[in-house]
């Protein structure tokens, strides 16, 4: 299966990305978009699969931002 994934970045100026990949995106995993790294926080099916293609919508956050906010919450 080929996963056509639309990555949408919440909170920030990053425009997001569109990538075809041979593995399904998973919540908690990191993804490299351009020169920045993001963590996946939500995965949903945008359209029913057609042929060998699945169409997914992924929401992600910058890893650094998430780490900073987690540290803030801990202090």
């Amino acid at each position: 299966m080929i996963y056509k994934v639309s990555y949408v970045v919440t909170g920030g100026e990053h425009p997001g990305a569109m990538i075809n990949q041979e593995f399904a995106p998973e919540i908690g995993k990191e993804v490299q978009l351009g020169d920045k790294t993001f963590r996946i926080v939500e995965v949903s099916e945008l359209l029913p699969p057609m042929g060998d293609f699945a169409f997914l919508h992924v929401t992600c956050r910058p890893v650094q931002e998430q780490t900073a906010s987690q540290e803030e919450a801990e202090t």
């Binding site: 949408v8 990305a17 919508h57």
Partner: protein, 150 residues
């Protein structure tokens, strides 16, 4: 043919094509390697190739300047330049390579149209795939606008 069948299968524009059709259409285009920072397309230029990303990432931007608006990053399997393929109009955005390197397969508009005329079934499948891709991008744009408004 120089490009693996598995790489071609990951390109949505080729969805539904048989192995023989894939081998035939690959002979119509060419593969180019770009390096980080290379400009692939300039906004406003009059070129009509369509591009398919075999590997790496490119960024779609409003202009080639520091304060340009970034529209999206495209990765493996994505295509760009389809609008000029369909309407032969000027490029609506600029494209630059943002990964250490990007392998890009491209077709000349005239070469592709000529091929489709002699291979109508391939033309039907690819045009359907282009239409579906444009629909997918429209859905994503609507979803982003909903998220921004929420």
């Amino acid at each position: 043919m120089g490009i693996s069948l598995s790489a071609l299968r990951a390109i949505e524009l080729f969805a539904g094509l048989t192995e023989d059709e894939l081998k035939a259409i690959v002979d119509v285009g060419k593969t180019t390697t770009y390096r980080q920072g290379d400009v692939i397309l300039r906004k406003g230029e009059q070129s009509t190739e369509v591009y398919l990303l075999l590997g790496g990432q490119v960024e779609v931007v409003s202009e080639l300047s520091e304060d340009a608006t970034s529209y999206i990053i495209l990765g493996a399997g994505q295509s760009f330049g389809e609008m000029a393929l369909l309407d032969a109009g000027p490029r609506s955005a600029a494209i630059r390579c943002v990964s250490p390197k990007a392998e890009i397969f491209s077709f000349g508009r005239d070469d592709l149209l000529t091929f489709w005329e002699s291979h109508c079934e391939v033309g039907y499948k690819m045009l359907f795939n282009i239409a579906r891709d444009l629909g997918f991008k429209l859905r994503i744009r609507n979803l982003k606008q909903e998220m921004e408004g929420a």
